[in-house]
């Protein structure tokens, strides 16, 4: 099951050229660009690991793309996303976030139903891949 999170997620995967253009847009808006990766695709997992520091002082997308290439070399088998953080007063939050790398095989999620007292049902989504320990999930 193809993971759909963040902007552009229902489109086909972005090419590097398209990623460059989006990153340049973030830079032109004055947002700090971050590269994050994870192997836990659960939608509630908001804390992805950061690749390096947020990039505040970069003028051109090429700098971000070299970092992305480096990140893909190490974590090419995981999800990688790029986010643009707007530090300006009143926003102070992520303005744009999109997936730029995904594992070759995405097993998707299972929906667990837990029957509790009465006729109540508790639902849990669980990623199949997250059953393995971290680091071994998409190997």
């Amino acid at each position: 099951m193809r993971l759909t999170q963040g902007t552009f997620s229902f489109l086909p995967d972005l090419t590097d050229e398209q990623i460059t253009a989006q990153v340049q847009y973030c830079i032109d808006q004055g947002w700090a660009v971050n590269i994050e990766f994870t192997d836990d695709p659960h939608p509630r997992n908001t804390y992805w690991d950061m690749w390096g520091l947020p990039m505040f002082d970069i003028r051109d997308a090429a700098g971000v793309m070299t970092e992305l290439t480096a990140c893909r070399k190490v974590y090419g088998d995981r999800y990688i996303r790029i986010s643009g953080f707007d530090a300006s007063h009143g926003w102070e939050s992520v303005r744009l976030s999109f997936i730029v790398n995904r594992p070759a095989n995405e097993p998707g999620f299972t929906l667990e139903r837990q029957e509790s007292e009465g006729r109540r049902v508790l639902y849990t989504t669980r990623a199949y891949s997250a059953q393995l320990p971290e680091g071994e999930r998409y190997a």
Binding site: D57, I58, R59, D60, A61, A62, T66, E67
Partner: protein, 322 residues
């Protein structure tokens, strides 16, 4: 600022235009403006301005060729600026960034100035991230490495500079469309640096040598600097300053434009204290802007003159002369 023209995708060979107008291209690129500015703001340096025009012409012709579908080697634009201190290397690097941006060979046209400190780390494993960080910052612009020869320290085998050099060389070769590297430094030491690192020499296409300024050029530089600070010489002061330049050039540690700037800063200091000590009434704008001959004559340069015609010095001058 007009958008760089490279953004226009080169037409397919089939749809090539019948002819290109280089003149119109030149006008459209916004280059005349920059060259005018260069002529206005930078005194002398005729051979360098000529060289810049040549480079710009080559890039324009390359672009025209591309439009006809003719083979164009991606131009190597890395440069080395050699010359004595204060000859305008950094200023020109800024202009170079603007020119390359107008021609569309760098995407942003910003200049990142670094020295050895910014590139070389202090312990094992510190250098590569540091250098890469700088390269990332410079991407899309011009990386100006001042006193580049300090990167290479032959006397210390375990110096980390070599690591930095290797990364630089790799990027200069593989990411030629991402950034342009300008190495700068004194001519003789740069020569030795290139001898020790042949990789650099072959990757640097343009070696530009900055000549020292002549006396008249220095005087003009001084006047322009004063103008930007809203000061001016009295006619007598101008003559004295010309003499000051002649004397100062003969002395050691003369740093061309920079020495002139320092001399003027000191003259302003003396002017201020002169006004302060003698002020017995309201001062006019003229009083505040004119540098008098005595402000310059108080300099130590005149005091060291071996000939006996050293001018009489003002009483407070002795303390102020550097």
């Amino acid at each position: 600022m007009p958008a760089p023209l490279m953004a226009v995708p080169p037409e397919a060979a089939g749809a090539a235009p019948a002819a290109v107008d280089l003149k119109a291209d030149f006008e459209a690129s916004g280059l005349p403006e920059i060259f005018d500015q260069l002529d206005r703001e930078m005194v002398g340096l005729a051979p360098i301005k000529q060289r810049l025009r040549e480079i710009a012409a080559l890039l324009l012709v390359d672009r025209a060729r591309q439009r006809f579908g003719l083979a164009v080697g991606a131009p190597t634009l890395h440069m080395s600026f050699t010359g004595n201190p204060g000859t305008g290397k950094t200023t020109l690097a800024l202009k170079m960034a603007a020119i390359l941006h107008r021609l569309g060979y760098v995407r942003r046209g910003h200049l990142v100035t670094v020295t050895r400190d910014d590139l070389v780390g202090q312990y094992i494993g510190h250098t590569a991230p540091k250098t890469k960080e700088v390269l990332k910052r410079a991407a899309g612009g011009v990386l100006f490495i001042d006193e580049a020869y300090y990167l290479y320290r032959p006397e210390n085998e375990r110096d980390y500079g070599q690591e930095s050099i290797e990364i630089l060389l790799q990027v200069m070769e593989n990411q030629r469309d991402d950034l342009v590297v300008i190495l700068a430094g004194y001519a003789d030491r740069m020569e030795r640096f290139f001898q020790a690192n042949p990789g650099f020499r072959s990757r640097v296409a343009h070696h530009i040598d900055f000549p020292d300024y002549g006396g008249e050029e220095l005087l003009e530089i001084g006047e322009r600097q004063l103008e930007t600070m809203n000061y001016r010489f009295s006619p007598k002061a101008k003559a004295v300053f010309a003499r000051y330049i002649t004397l100062r050039r003969g002395q050691p540690h003369f740093a061309n434009g920079r020495s002139i700037r320092n001399a003027l800063d000191r003259a302003r200091l003396r002017q201020a204290s002169r006004l302060f000590q003698r002020a017995d009434g309201p001062l006019s704008v003229d009083d505040l802007t004119v540098i008098e001959a005595e402000d310059i004559l108080a300099s130590r340069v005149f005091a060291d003159m071996p000939t006996g015609d050293a001018p009489a010095r003002d009483t407070p001058a002795g303390k102020e002369a550097p």
